[in-house]
Amino acid sequence: MNQSPWVGRVVRGLVLLVFALFFFFPLWSMLDFSTKDFVTGGRTGDHWRALVENDQLRRAILTSLELAGLTVVLMLTLLLPTMIWVRLRVPQATRLVEFLCLLPLTVPPLVIVVGINGVYSWVNYFFGGSPLTLTFVYVILVLPFAYRALDAALSAIDVTTLAEAARSLGASWLVVIGRVVAPNVVSGVFSAAFISIALVLGEFTFASLMHFDTLPNVIVLLGKGDTGASMAAALATMILTALLLIALSLLDRRRSERN
């Protein structure tokens, strides 16, 4: 049964090549599409310029970026103190918080969006009808992923000892959470932020069914009239998402190597 090593290597190389084709050919197609001049058949940068020049597209990009930022801020202010607090003072609630955070994996966004009208009439009432109100549901959307990232980082440090030391020096709970524990989980915070941004930039279900003009929504809209620009926007989104997620995996590795 012993094969010579080079046969194995060739087979492995071929397998990898086939997978690489499947995953990269569509990306290359998008690049080709987004630089094609449909009239002359030559190359053009017009579709990419549309990302800043097309008013609708530019506004959608800004909306999506703002949403990503707001989601990160709200997610961190909600989740990080809660998770630290659970570790320090109410460990009995660990299971409950974990369950709730992972629940969105079982309840698809599509289901939440179907049932959210009543809640959003209140959101509209208090905050207005701006697309940025999507932040509230986006925090739910990113919850499982943000939870995992923060949980991994918190598990890596001894939160209780840190907190006890700080408390014995007279620090308040707020100071403990904000100034003592949080700075020690910066890599977890970044991981949580990156994955959240990546998810928000690509989110379509909530935005389209709740009728807000975010980037993915406008990409679909433009796809019906200006395919080149919508391809450029789609590819740009993919590249940005990929960069964020690669940065995330680098952070993860640094953390696991440190431990």
Partner: protein, 284 residues
Amino acid sequence: MTRLSRVMPALGLLPFLAYVVIFMVIPTINVAIGAFQDNDGVFTGANISGLFDATMMTTLWRSVQVSAVSAVLGAILGTVLAAVIVTAPATSLLRRGVMALTSVFAQFGGVTLAFAFIATVGAQGILTVLLADHGGFDLYGDGWLYGVRGLILVYLYFQIPLMVVVFVPALEGLRPQWREAAVSLGASRRQYLTQVAVPLLRPAFLGSVLLLFANAFAAYATAAALVSQGQIILPLMIRAGLTSEVLLGRQHLAYAIALEMIIVVAIVMVAYALLLRRTSRWLR
């Protein structure tokens, strides 16, 4: 300790709990209740029985088909890719690179992914044009990309990497010592594979298939951006129920379909959790 000081720490969780209740639990409860109501809020079983009419059953079946085929194919191909990576040294650039990329691709989906495939095998797609010009092969055909077969192909783009992400840890858990032990007891490579490795990995593999199934079953954005003709899967049926300007008053049918989706996904996820528990007992 007074009663108050014992309750106080738990109060710290209130903001989080309230938030999750408002934006996740209440909408879900709304769906569950709305599935049993008509447009005027009167309780009725009509929506639920509507789930069992012929069209809806066909749609459910197609949904299961897309999810199951993309899950099984994704799991098999993902295992192949995972095996190739795992046999490379842990520190090699190849292994790190592929792992990083798969975690990226596993997150791709939705609108951008649909567009990537339209650019590749759509009517004007690069591959379509290439094959038509050289060899006159008609890849586009009857527009299969916009149907069940197209969905399966596109879903594989995130199913395979997801499989790699969840299955590589299980492969890594196979300890070399076990293999050495088997070999020293006189087992051949084939015997090791069929009698040790495969039985050990089976629960992890099946669990991953279930996870992939749920992942595909709940996916909406990719299909919504790709398919515009005919509500071929349940998520698109929900869209039609909410937005159709032709068939009116079916919002509550959409609630019932949403409830059906939660139930299917929940069953699959519970089965997944059970299998996961079994795997973690073996591979620690």
